[in-house]
């Protein structure tokens, strides 16, 4: 014990310190990893809701192959949605005004497509770990 002590008899560094510093470096790495990966994945999640119910959620940046799907409300009301890498749009809808179809692609946080007749809403969420640039939008 004494010999051991003498070898490490440095005031500001003892062998156990390595444990503390290693743990802290691990926490540093963990935080960095989560932040970096979080920025990549959380940046553009599109959420499709029909009459208030979430029916589809997709991370637009992770879409490899484009796909389409149809949301039906009943009574013949439907919207067909196309998802591609980084963007989403309505390509066909039963609604008379077709505003949702005409709106085309959306890809950025806070953008949304609303189809009032079919009560369909597509939202792109802001990144979770960034400070929100705005809280809402008046349109």
């Amino acid at each position: 014990m004494n010999k051991y002590h003498r070898n490490w008899q440095n005031r500001y560094f003892k062998p156990g310190d390595l444990i503390i510093y290693t743990v802290l470096i691990a926490i540093f790495a963990l935080g960095t990893a989560i932040t970096v990966s979080g920025n990549k994945t959380a940046a553009s999640v599109a959420v499709v809701t029909s009459d208030g119910q979430e029916v589809h959620r997709v991370d637009l940046k992770k879409v490899k192959a484009p796909y389409e799907f149809t949301v039906e409300l009943g009574g013949g009301h439907y919207n067909t949605i196309r998802v591609e890498n980084g963007r989403i749009r309505v390509i066909e809808a039963s609604c008379p005004d077709q505003i949702d179809v005409k709106q085309g692609w959306i890809s950025l946080p806070y953008q949304s497509i609303i189809c009032l007749p079919n009560r369909l809403l597509i939202n792109i969420l802001p990144a979770q770990d960034e400070v929100e640039e705005i809280d809402g939008i008046a349109f």
Partner: protein, 344 residues
Amino acid sequence: MKLDRILKLSIIILLLSAVLWALLTNDRTPTAVSDSQWLMGTLVEMRVFGSQSAMRGAFKRIEEVDHAMSRTHPDSYIYAINASAGESWVKVDQDTFHVIQASIEYAALTQGLFEPSIGPLVELWAIGTPRASLPSAEAVEERKQLINYHDIQLDVEKRQVKLGAAGMGIDLGAIAKGYGADAAAAFLRNQGVKSAFLNLGGNVYVLGAKPDGTPWRIGIQNPEAPRGTHMAVLEVEDTSIVTSGPYERYFIEDGIRYHHILDPVSGYPAESGLASVTIVSPSSTAADALATGVFILGMEKGLELLENLDNVEGILVGDNRLVYVTSGLKGRLLSLAEGFELYE
């Protein structure tokens, strides 16, 4: 020995009082509840820093307003008034009476361009419904004759409303959402809520500041970009922001776009050289009505009216992408999007 016990006791008392003090003065750190519902023909979103029951009550208030003031709902007071036009008085609830009264005031302020009795014309154009199509000039002319807000008769004592001539019709579509926002916000305030964000299909109302004390940052819709893209940002507390623009609802026939803001004088969608009008006011009712009225009034008259009103500010965007703001908003428009130019 005795000192030790005193020491222990004091630790406990200290801890308890610290926690108690924090709990009492901190007003319980509010947590956010949020929900969205389809009401008033649009998506109503709320983010409330308070209880779930307070938020439910606020939605209920909007539902009540919707139910009372819908033009198309057969149980509504407005439906009853329109059905009895030129015939009999209809007793209405306080909300409806108040909104009709207010709408007549705003009609007077905007030289009749914000028109509560525009119902027949709205029905003819039917924009936003499957029947939307370009009407004949004769039909437009005929319906225009039925529009005159001076013919809305009010009996304050009995809280009754009557339309002067058969065929007339009230449409509160350009003011009811604002009133719904005011009513919901008043309810939340009554429940002790200090911070909330309400969005009634683009009509934004912010109650208080954000829980961390910073103002809400509200984007103003870019009239030329997809919904949700902002052209500028305002930092606000305890106020309502309402934007009106032709991009909200429209239909296209033979390559021409017909939007939903109808000019009661011409009978056609308003052509005033404006791309959008945003009104900032603590009264969402005022903001809603004035956004429509000022859009039809146009840049010059619109700015003049806004400057003459207290507690009302505005952001007017011209078709030429020039942005005008009223004196109270000078220097407050943040991060203006590229392509737009602020007129100083």
